[in-house]
């Protein structure tokens, strides 16, 4: 599934978005591509998902997130090719 471009900007970054557990259920997807105007942060990606995906508004504004397998804050920048993961509150063990 490909989402529409955020902006018809000259320079964009494309990231893979992965959703897990309850967030995958909310969004009805486990993985998608997202194109964002540069410079982009995790927060920009979350804002776009909340606006453009059905039920996206059910995501928190500041969910737990990881980029390229590392926990980051929503202020973290996104670069072309990054894997952004949306993590519901963790409950391991």
């Amino acid at each position: 599934m490909h989402l529409p471009k955020a902006l018809s900007s000259a320079t964009t970054v494309t990231v893979t978005v992965r959703a897990f557990a309850r967030y995958a259920e909310i969004l009805g997807l486990e993985e998608t591509k997202l194109e964002l105007a540069e410079p982009a942060t995790v927060g920009d990606a979350v804002k776009l998902l909340r606006k453009s995906v059905p039920n996206g508004h059910l995501l928190p504004e500041r969910p737990l997130v990881a980029v390229n397998l590392e926990h980051v804050l929503v202020e973290a920048p996104l670069r072309n090719g990054d894997e952004l993961a949306l993590l519901p509150p963790l409950a391991g063990g």
């Binding site: 992965r18 897990f20 557990a21 309850r22 928190p60 504004e61 500041r62 969910p63 737990l64 997130v65 990881a66 397998l69 590392e70 926990h71 980051v72 804050l73 929503v74 993961a85 993590l87 519901p88 509150p89 963790l90 409950a91 391991g92 063990g93």
Partner: protein
């Protein structure tokens, strides 16, 4: 050894990976599915995970423990998929020359694992219903650890 397993955890095998003739103390933590974990009697918990990140994050936790308790060795396993009541979902073993360090390293690893590992649980109740059971991290997120 991979941290994620889709099968029952081999606790003895895990202990074997950390022990050695210079390590006098070994501490093992095993977390199991409890019947009373949920709002009703639980029959099983279905664990799902972001598996690549789970491996990467547990590697970091092991490295942090080794740095804090030199000479210690830590290993662990986390089961994903359906885990019935009474069976183990996670196990962490830590060995060190002396027992205080083995206790500290094991405790550190399981506490960090609970906070940082991308794993989620869906409780399957005896009546057939199911519910996500989530932790209580603030939505602000987890402050990244500097390696």
């Amino acid at each position: 050894m991979r941290f994620v397993t889709h099968r029952p955890i081999d606790v003895l095998g895990l202990l074997t990976t950390v022990t050695g003739p210079e390590l006098g103390g070994t501490v093992l933590f095993v977390g199991s599915v409890r019947r009373g974990d949920g709002d009703g009697p639980v029959e099983a918990i279905e664990y799902s995970a972001y598996e690549d990140m789970l491996e990467a994050e547990f590697e970091k936790i092991m490295a942090e423990a080794a740095a804090q308790w030199p000479g210690s060795r830590v290993a662990g396993m986390h089961r994903v998929g359906r885990v019935p009541v009474g069976e183990s979902s996670v196990a962490i073993a830590a060995a060190a020359p002396h027992r205080a360090d083995a206790f500290a390293a094991c405790r550190y690893a399981i506490e960090e694992a609970k906070k940082r590992l991308p794993v989620w649980k869906k409780e399957i109740f005896e009546d057939g219903s199911a519910a996500w059971r989530e932790g209580d991290q603030p939505e602000a997120g987890i402050k990244p650890k500097i390696a």
